[in-house]
Amino acid sequence: MPESSRYVRSLEVDSLELHRNSAKLGPICFTLIQSGCWWLAGPSGAGKSLLLESLAGFHAEAQGSVRVGGNEVASRSPERRAISLMPQRWRLFPHWTVARNLRFAASLGGANADRIAQLTHRLRVQDLVNRSARTLSGGETQRIALIQTLLSPARILLLDEPLSAIDAALQSVVLDLLQEEAAAQGRICLIAVHRPIEGVPMRGTLHIERGRLLPRMEPVRAPE
């Protein structure tokens, strides 16, 4: 059975390190053992993006252990990790329409047209599907990119500043959707932000500074 279709409920990271140009990450150790959404919080330049990219397999030089559902994936290529990253500066595939961008992601994750329609309706982008991907604004692009990520087969979703271009009214819609997706599909969402948004019921928060996780990881909600 492919890794991605298993009911993965854990992300275990041990001694993850990366030296890239002047940036240094780690050693990083943490374990997320329940499905749900987690913040990864830290100031600019703290290493949030570098950590997410390393987990997603973007940096061949990264050292250490990354286990998804108990399976070691650190030596695997990005598509074989069951981890999908939505980078901070996501540009859609510009040679396609929005609909084709979504169908591409859906074809990889085995999702059907109904699921695309459901997600586009939920994030209020159903009117954009026939537009060229080149013509979207930053906020529209970010919402389409989020849907692409949700359509992927991965069970661990890493979202780098997914709310940065989305207006305040829609932010709660996005966060609600992520919570529901995590609960319904047994996914773990790690959401990088400068500062956690107050009042959002997350599983917990990882704090990162200068490439290292801070020892505190609070609050953690009890499993439902």
């Binding site: 990005p78 999908s84 595939f93 990889l108 992927s152």
Partner: protein
Amino acid sequence: MKRSRADRFLFASAALLGALLLAFLIVPLVQLSWVSPLAIARLFSIPEIRKALILTFSCAAAASSVGLLLAAAFGYWLARRPVWISRVLLPLVDIPLLIPHPVAGIALLLLLARPGILNHLLQSLRLTPASGSLLGTPAAIVAAMLFVSAPYQAQVCRQAFAGLDPAYALRSRTLGAGPWRTLLRIEIPLVRRSLLGGAAMALARSASEFGAILVVAYFPRTLPVLIYEKFSNEGLDAVRPLAALMIVAGLLLQALLHGLQPDEALDHA
């Protein structure tokens, strides 16, 4: 910016020298091709010329197609290797452009003539041509065209893949697509205009090749060989419609090449 007198003088001087270059390049070609369109049309009724025309452009199309496949693979690989590898390999790939074309033809003789490496290979596969050698066959013409045009294609393909934002491939991979699907669905479509532009340039270069073809395949005659022969035997006037035909074909290919330029390149044009 307000322009001073010195600015105006500088622009006028640059424009004058540019116009001189343009005139030097264009006037002889216009003069040569200043023939009646009927004279060009009549060429198509001469079997010898029709045959040469078909041979030239079919061989050029074959050379640019083979070149596209090989150069795209080479450019893709090179664009993903450290820059020092490009610095070492690209000058080597360019060598066929730097040597006189008859020398390129002589180099190909070693490959194509009996007992050349290629003939040995064909012999072992029981594919030896009836004449016993590839010399004087369309295959030799294609080889000569490929030899002098593939370096252009290799450069264009490497630049195309190197200029592609690697983030697109990473996004495709992190969504779950493997390397082949990413190459075929995302990367190649994103650089297709550059790749096809390189192929059009190779087609034009191949169709106009003379020196290397002369060595490996005087017969069957391609258009450039036929033009040279007619010019030697019958003089300038006999060759003008044929030369005009080549110039028109070159202009058409140039228009195609321009149409295939990536949008960004045209923006800066």
